[in-house]
Amino acid sequence: MTATEAAMPVLQLRQVSKRFGAVQALSNVDFEVYSNEVVALVGDNGAGKSTLIKTIAGAYKPDEGDYIFEGKVVSVNSPRQATDLGVETVYQDLALCDNLDVVSNLYLGRENVRRSGLKSMDLLNETEMERRATEVLRDLSVKIPSVRVQIANLSGGQRQSVAVARSVMWNSKVVLLDEPTAALGVEQTRQVKDLILRLRERGLGVVVISHNVADVFEVSDRIIVMRLGRRVATFHTARSTNEQVIGAITGAMLPANAYGEAE
């Protein structure tokens, strides 16, 4: 049992539903993530994982249900409102600018500047940005040749690490990672998994979407299984097996409920 079990979730969705025309993408889904915890969100294609993540990220507004952050019901209608709360999302396509260096990407849209009176003419404070970027990457043990190297010259794993580092630079409390290890090699996958565990050590609530059940077992504390727009099962990673999780994903073997009983 994780230490935080009894505590209040840092982020919680309650009875959330979302329709797209005739498709019921989410039906009465509950979701919660605690601080100091890695939650894996798994499920087959079309299970509703992406819709759920986008709802948490503020990209979709649910038709019904509550968004509860640190115990308070809040209204999140845009990605900006989510990031303002401290909920950061790292999408699969990373959203980095290849032509800019690591420092510029870490600070993109939130540059450290000296004010000049006109916002767009504010002067970039490169020294300060580089100093702090170096610090953050060192704290997270992200290994790159230099913080001034262009993203185009980094490996896939390094890019993923930079994207994750960007999400935790801003006092974020929850980080959503969409397929963080897809398309990575063995060594690079290991780097990213280490990084995920370090995010947890820093006290963040981490939500990982993944197809790869083996990877999920290595990094997560809890596993939430989605199926056909519903949350069908929850497992404590330490007390579950691969077969149980896969059974829940396919619907072949639904367990009794959360941590053992059917939902």
């Binding site: 990605p79 900006r80 999408y91 396509d93 990373l94 959203a95 980095l96 600018c97 290849d98 032509n99 800019l100 260096d101 510029s104 993109l108 849209g109 939130r110 540059e111 500047v113 000049s116 916002k119 767009s120 003419m121 504010d122 002067l123 970039l124 490169e126 020294t127 300060e128 580089e130 100093r131 170096t134 040749p145 230099s146 001034r148 190297v149 262009q150 185009a152 010259n153 980094l154 490996s155 896939g156 390094q158």
Partner: protein
């Protein structure tokens, strides 16, 4: 695993050869090919005609490229966004016509005519940028329509006479006045001192923040090379260029050169050191990423189209001033193609997000030097076009090859 790449001022590897090889592998050659190209061009023309590298000819060259280079500065901005502007040449012609009509036909003061022409340019850019952003029409098409429409507007503004001579002294002086010798030196020395202060200040603040810095020697070299080039340029333009030593001396830095340099410095500063400049590169590199980072992409795009068209107008004013007239061919012919070619030859990528404002100067120098050198050799313009075309093709190929190397490196 890669080694540290030399970037900005920071972390220059000790071994320059290694650094160079690294940049080649990563596809970050920047302006290097064009500088080598310029040296080759200079050697070739000088060995054929010893009049090429003379103060008279080189000063003429600088004045010849000032208008093209100014238009090209705007084109660099557009290319950084990953867009294209085919209307730049015609906008320059329209601005020249507006200025000429205001000053010669309506007898307005020169200042009003100049501001009026630049405002017309900026409004054209605003319209085109807004259209591209609002209706999601590719910039290629919108500015192609502009190429036609602004040509019509220019003919309309010029009216039946078709050609308007400019006799206003102030406007003629924009391109043709020569600064007093001492003032040329003041510009040069102040420029070099300010540059040196900026570089050293940056070096110091990086050291204070315990960030990697290159060797102090490298910094000194940089300041030395830039300073020496600037001062050598001033010295050269201050030499009496009149072949008849007994005649009235022709000496001093032409104002057109100062104006062009000022644009380069201002826009290099904006693109490299301001929030706006950073966003321009971000939009050019990955528009979706820029949008997700909260950048107002449309505002950046519209602003850039406005700035680029205003710069094209300034280029048109310089050209009209040099010609003492605005006429039916102002901004026609190869003006647009030279401006785009200059930006690309100078090292700005057609694929967006890569390049520096200085490529407008370097590329304009290449195109200007080829034209100028061939004129000295009295070659036909047919050959001039073919050679310029070949150089452009070479530059674009280097750009594409760099891009391919970039995509292969690192993964």
């Amino acid at each position: 695993m890669m080694k540290t790449q030399p970037t900005n001022l920071a972390a220059a590897p000790n071994n320059w050869r290694e650094a160079l090889a690294e940049r080649f592998r990563q596809g970050n050659l920047g302006s290097l090919p064009v500088i080598i190209g310029l040296i080759i061009i200079a050697i070739v023309f000088q060995s054929i005609n010893k009049n090429f590298l003379t103060p008279l000819n080189l000063t003429n060259l600088m004045v010849q490229i000032a208008a093209m280079g100014t238009i090209s500065t705007g084109v660099v901005l557009i290319l950084l966004l990953g867009e294209v502007d085919l209307s730049a040449g015609q906008v320059s012609g329209l601005a020249a016509a507006v200025m000429a009509v205001l000053v010669s036909r309506h007898n307005l003061p020169a200042g009003v005519a100049i501001v009026g022409a630049i405002v017309v340019g900026a409004l054209v850019g605003l319209l085109q940028g807004w259209w591209i952003s609002s209706f999601r029409v590719p910039s290629f098409v919108v500015t192609l329509a502009g190429l036609l429409a602004w040509q019509g507007a220019r003919l309309r503004v010029l009216g039946d006479t078709g050609s308007i001579n400019i006799t206003n002294k102030f406007i003629i002086d924009i391109a043709n006045f020569r600064l007093p010798i001492w003032l040329g030196w003041v510009f040069g020395v102040v420029g070099v001192v300010v540059y040196a202060l900026i570089v050293f200040n940056e070096y110091r603040s990086r050291r204070a923040a315990e960030l990697p810095v290159g060797s102090l020697n490298g910094v000194l070299w940089r300041v030395g090379v830039v300073g020496a080039s600037v001062l050598a340029g001033v010295a050269m333009m201050n030499v009496n260029r009149n072949a008849n030593a007994a005649g009235i001396p022709i000496q001093g830095v032409p104002t057109a050169v100062i104006i062009f340099m000022t644009f380069l410095i201002i826009f290099d500063f904006i693109t490299q050191r301001t929030r706006f400049g950073r966003y321009v590169y971000a939009v050019g590199g990955n528009t979706e990423a820029a949008r997700r980072a909260g950048i107002n992409v449309n505002r950046i795009r519209i602003t850039i189209f406005m700035l680029a068209s205003a710069l094209a107008a300034c280029g048109g004013i310089l050209a009209a001033s040099r010609l003492n007239a605005a006429n039916q061919s102002s901004g026609d012919g190869d003006v647009l193609l030279n401006a785009i070619a200059a930006a690309v030859i100078g090292g700005t990528s057609l694929f967006g997000g890569r390049g520096r404002i200085w490529s407008a100067l370097l590329g304009a120098l290449v195109i200007g030097a080829i034209a100028n050198g061939m004129d000295l050799l009295a070659l036909k313009s047919s050959i001039k076009f073919i050679v310029t075309g070949a150089v452009l093709l070479l530059a674009v190929t280097i750009d594409a090859a760099s891009r391919a190397r970039r995509e292969n490196s690192g993964r």
